[in-house]
C-alpha cells in the first residue's frame, strides 16, 4: 500500500469522466435488469451501493459470447471476405472483482499458449482492468480456497477499495501505476486510510465461510477419474444446461459457425459449453455422450487438466456456478466429497 492514493466518492464520477477522454469506460450497470459491465453513462456511480458482481463474468468483454470474425458478401466476381473494422480504442473496465480479474490471468495463458489468439489478445492489450475490492462477498463465494481472496489484486491494473467516504486507490501493474501517478484528482492516502482499508479487507475475508481444501484435488480427481458410480451420483441432478460454463469466468471453450443467408453472412465465434450434449458434435459425435462424463470433464478441466498444464486451478471461486445453477449443484460440495487418495479403489 506504499504509494496508495484516494479519491472522495463524490469525485469518482469526475475521475471516470477524466478517464473517459482516453478510454471507453465500462462500469457495473443494471439498466437492462441484470448486473453487467456496460458503457458508463457519465454520471451514475450508484453501483458502489448495490454492486456485488456481474452476471456475465469479465471474460465476456474479451471473449464475447458471440463475435464476428469476418463477413462474407458477394459481388460480380464471387465472394468477398472482410474483417470487422479494427477497433483501436482503449477500454477501461471499472469495478472488476478480484475473482474476475484473476480469471483474466488464467485465460491469458490459454490464449497465448499454443497459438496467439488475435481476437482475445488484442482486446486484452487495449484494456485497463480497474478492480474493486470485495467488501460484501456472497455466501456462494469461495475465492479464498483457490489462491484468491476479496482483496487479491492478480489481474488488475489498479485496485479501488471502498473505505467509507473515500476510495483507496492503488496502482498494481506498471500501466496502472502510471495512470494513478499522473492523476491530479487523486490525493495521497493517509496512514489512517490504509489502516481502514486493511481492516475492511480482513473483515471481508472473514465473511467468506465457504472453504474447501484444494491442496491435493488434482491427485484426488485423478484417483477417482474412472469411478463411474461416483460420477453418476455427483451428476444425477445436473440438467446439462450451460449456466455454469457460459457464465464461468474461466471457461473458454468456443465454437465457430457460419451465419449465412442466401450465400452471404458472417463467420462467428461463440462460447460453447462442455455441459451440452451437442458439444463437439461438429466433427462426429460428442465423446462424452453420458451426462456423468460431461460433469466429470467440467470439474476435471478446472481442477485437474488445467493445473497439469499451467500449474494453477482454473477456478476463481466466484461462486456463479453455485448461485445461478437451476438445481443448486455445488462444486465445492463435490470437491469436498472426493475420496481421499488412499481411499480410492484405483
Amino acid at each position: 500500500m506504499a504509494d496508495s492514493k484516494k479519491v472522495r466518492k463524490e469525485d469518482l464520477a469526475g475521475l471516470l469522466t477524466e478517464w473517459s477522454r482516453d478510454y471507453a469506460v465500462l462500469a457495473p450497470s443494471r439498466a437492462d435488469g441484470v448486473a453487467r459491465m456496460a458503457a458508463w453513462d457519465g454520471e451514475d456511480i450508484s453501483f458502489l451501493d448495490w454492486y456485488r458482481n456481474t452476471i456475465n463474468p469479465v471474460k465476456s468483454l474479451f471473449l464475447p459470447p458471440v463475435e464476428e470474425m469476418f463477413s462474407i458478401s458477394r459481388n460480380e466476381r464471387g465472394h468477398r471476405i472482410e474483417l470487422p473494422p479494427k477497433d483501436d480504442t482503449g477500454c477501461l473496465v471499472f469495478g472488476v472483482r478480484p475473482c474476475d480479474a484473476r480469471s483474466l490471468i488464467l485465460l491469458d495463458v490459454v490464449f497465448e499458449d499454443a497459438y496467439e489468439d488475435p481476437y482475445y489478445l488484442d482486446r486484452r492489450r487495449r484494456s485497463i482492468v480497474v478492480g474493486l475490492c470485495c467488501t460484501n462477498p456472497c455466501d456462494s463465494c469461495f475465492c479464498t480456497s483457490v489462491d484468491s481472496g476479496p482483496a487479491a489484486t492478480a489481474g488488475m491494473d489498479i485496485m479501488f477499495t471502498d473505505i467509507g467516504d473515500n476510495l483507496l486507490v492503488e496502482g498494481i501493474s506498471r500501466k496502472g501505476k502510471e495512470l494513478v501517478a499522473g492523476n491530479a484528482t487523486l490525493a495521497k492516502a493517509t496512514r489512517t486510510d490504509e489502516n481502514r482499508a486493511r481492516k475492511i479487507r480482513l473483515a471481508a475475508e472473514k465473511k467468506i465461510t465457504r472453504k474447501i481444501d484444494t491442496g491435493d484435488s488434482k491427485e484426488r480427481l485423478l484417483a477417482v477419474f474412472e469411478d463411474e458410480s461416483f460420477w453418476q451420483q455427483v451428476s444425477a441432478k445436473c440438467v446439462s444446461c450451460g449456466v455454469c460454463t457460459l457464465l464461468c469466468p474461466t471457461c473458454y471453450c468456443f465454437d465457430i459457425n457460419d451465419a449465412m443467408t442466401g450465400g452471404e453472412g458472417s463467420r462467428c465465434r461463440s462460447l460453447d459449453s462442455c455441459a451440452f450434449s451437442s458439444y463437439t458434435k461438429m466433427p462426429m459425435e460428442n465423446p462424452r455422450a453420458d451426462k456423468w462424463r460431461r460433469v466429470r470433464n467440467k470439474l476435471c478441466h478446472k481442477y485437474e487438466f488445467y493445473p497439469m498444464l499451467f500449474d494453477n486451478i482454473a477456478c476463481t471461486g466466484c461462486g456463479r456456478c453455485i448461485r445461478l445453477c437451476p438445481v443448486n449443484w455445488d462444486i465445492t460440495q463435490v470437491l469436498d466429497s472426493l475420496p481421499a487418495k488412499h481411499e480410492s479403489k484405483i
Binding site: D32, G33, V34, R36, R52, I55, N56, P65, V66, C138, D139, S140, A236, K237, V239, S240, C241, G242, V243, L246, L247, D255, N257, A259, C268, S270, L271, S273, F276, S277, S278, K281, M282, K291, I322, R323, L324, P326, V327, N328, W329, D330, T332, Q333
Partner: protein
C-alpha cells in the same frame, strides 16, 4: 387448509418414512425429492437409492424444482415427490408415453405455494444471503434481516405461477402426504409482465421481446429444466438443416424461444421453471402463460390434468378453429 410450519413438518416426517419404506421394501429403485440446498433459503433435488439419505428429504416453501424433469432420464421404478404443478407435468409425461404410470410411486405434496426469494430480495432490498430468515405462518410471510422484521402477504412474495395455481394438491398420486390444500386464488395478481404486454401495441410488444432476448445467453436452462422439453435432439442442435444459428445472437435467441413455446404448447403446465432458472431474468413466463391461456381459450385444454386425456396436438375435433381458415 391454511399453512402452518407444524403441518409442514408432519408432512416431511411422513415423507421420510414413506420414502425409506419404499426403498426398503424394494417398491422403488430410487427416490427423487428435495434436500436442503447449499445456499440460504434454497433446496436442491435429491436423487438417491440410499435409504439413509431419505433422512435428508425436506418439504418447505422453497422446494422450487419441478422434479418430473428427471423422469424420462431415470431408469427403473421411481418414487417421486410431487407438488400439484409437478404432478401435472408427470401426468403430461404419462400422456406422452415418456414414463409409465406403473413405474412411478407419486408422493403427493399438497402445496400451499412457494416463496419467490427474488421477490423477497426486491422487497427488502437485500440479497438472498443477507436475509436471515423467511418463514410462513398462515398467510403471512415474515422476513428477518438482522433485528429488522417485516411481514408480507402471499401475493407479494409467492411465485406468480403459484398465485394462479389451479391444482395445489396433486390429482394423481399414490400417497398424499397431507391434507388437501386450496388454491391461493390470486390469479389476477399473477400475470406479471403479461398484463403490461397486453396493454401495448403489437409493435411495442415485439420491440419488448426483441430487447429482452438481446441478453439471452443461450444456456438453454429454460429448455433443460422444462419437463415438456424431452426431445433427444432439440431443433436448435440440428445442423442439417441448421434452423437457427447456435449462438447467442438476437433474432435467433427470440426465434428459439418462440419455437420452444410452440413445441411445448399443450404440455406446458405453467410451472414457471423456465423463468425461475433464467440467469438473465428474461420474463419467460409471460410467454408460457400466454400459451397456456391460448390453448385453454381455443380448445378448452388444460395440460396434465388427467392421464386419460389425449395430448392436445395429437387430438382434434372435426368442428373447431374453422374461423382461422379463409
Amino acid at each position: 387448509m391454511s399453512y402452518s410450519a407444524a403441518k409442514n413438518s408432519q408432512m416431511q416426517k411422513k415423507l421420510r418414512q414413506e420414502a425409506k419404506a419404499l426403498l426398503e421394501q424394494g417398491k422403488v429403485d430410487c427416490i427423487i425429492g428435495y434436500e436442503p440446498g447449499s445456499l440460504k433459503h434454497a433446496t436442491t433435488p435429491l436423487i438417491t437409492k440410499d435409504k439413509a439419505a431419505t433422512e435428508r428429504l425436506v418439504i418447505n416453501p422453497f422446494i422450487v424444482n419441478n422434479l418430473s424433469n428427471f423422469l424420462p432420464y431415470t431408469k427403473g421404478r421411481i418414487g417421486i415427490v410431487a407438488k400439484g404443478c409437478d404432478s401435472r407435468s408427470i401426468v403430461s409425461l404419462i400422456q406422452d408415453n415418456k414414463v409409465k404410470r406403473e413405474d412411478l410411486f407419486i408422493l403427493g405434496v399438497p402445496c400451499s405455494g412457494l416463496i419467490d426469494v427474488s421477490k423477497v430480495e426486491a422487497l427488502v432490498g437485500k440479497y438472498r444471503d443477507e436475509i436471515d430468515d423467511i418463514s410462513r405462518q398462515g398467510d403471512i410471510i415474515t422476513v428477518k434481516v438482522g433485528a429488522a422484521k417485516k411481514e408480507f402477504s402471499l401475493s407479494q412474495v409467492m411465485f406468480d405461477n403459484c398465485l394462479a395455481c389451479e391444482l395445489p394438491t396433486p390429482a394423481e398420486y399414490d400417497v398424499l402426504l397431507g391434507e388437501p390444500t386450496s388454491p391461493i386464488g390470486a390469479a389476477a395478481e399473477s400475470a406479471g409482465k403479461l398484463d403490461e404486454l397486453k396493454a401495448m401495441t403489437a409493435a411495442q410488444r415485439w420491440a419488448f421481446w426483441q430487447n429482452e432476448f438481446r441478453r439471452c445467453t443461450r444456456c438453454y436452462a429454460c429448455r433443460n429444466v422444462c419437463p415438456a422439453c424431452y426431445c433427444k435432439r432439440c431443433f436448435v442442435d440440428e445442423t442439417e438443416p441448421q434452423w437457427l444459428a447456435p449462438m447467442p445472437q438476437e433474432p435467433d435467441n427470440l426465434m428459439f424461444q418462440i419455437i420452444r413455446n410452440l413445441h411445448v404448447s399443450g404440455r406446458c403446465t405453467d410451472c414457471g421453471e423456465c423463468e425461475r432458472t433464467c440467469p438473465v431474468n428474461i420474463p419467460l413466463r409471460a410467454l408460457t402463460r400466454d400459451m397456456y391461456d391460448i390453448v385453454d381459450e381455443l380448445f378448452e385444454f388444460k395440460s396434465g390434468m388427467d392421464t386419460k386425456t389425449q395430448p392436445l396436438l395429437t387430438a382434434y375435433e372435426v368442428d373447431e378453429a374453422e374461423d382461422l381458415v379463409k
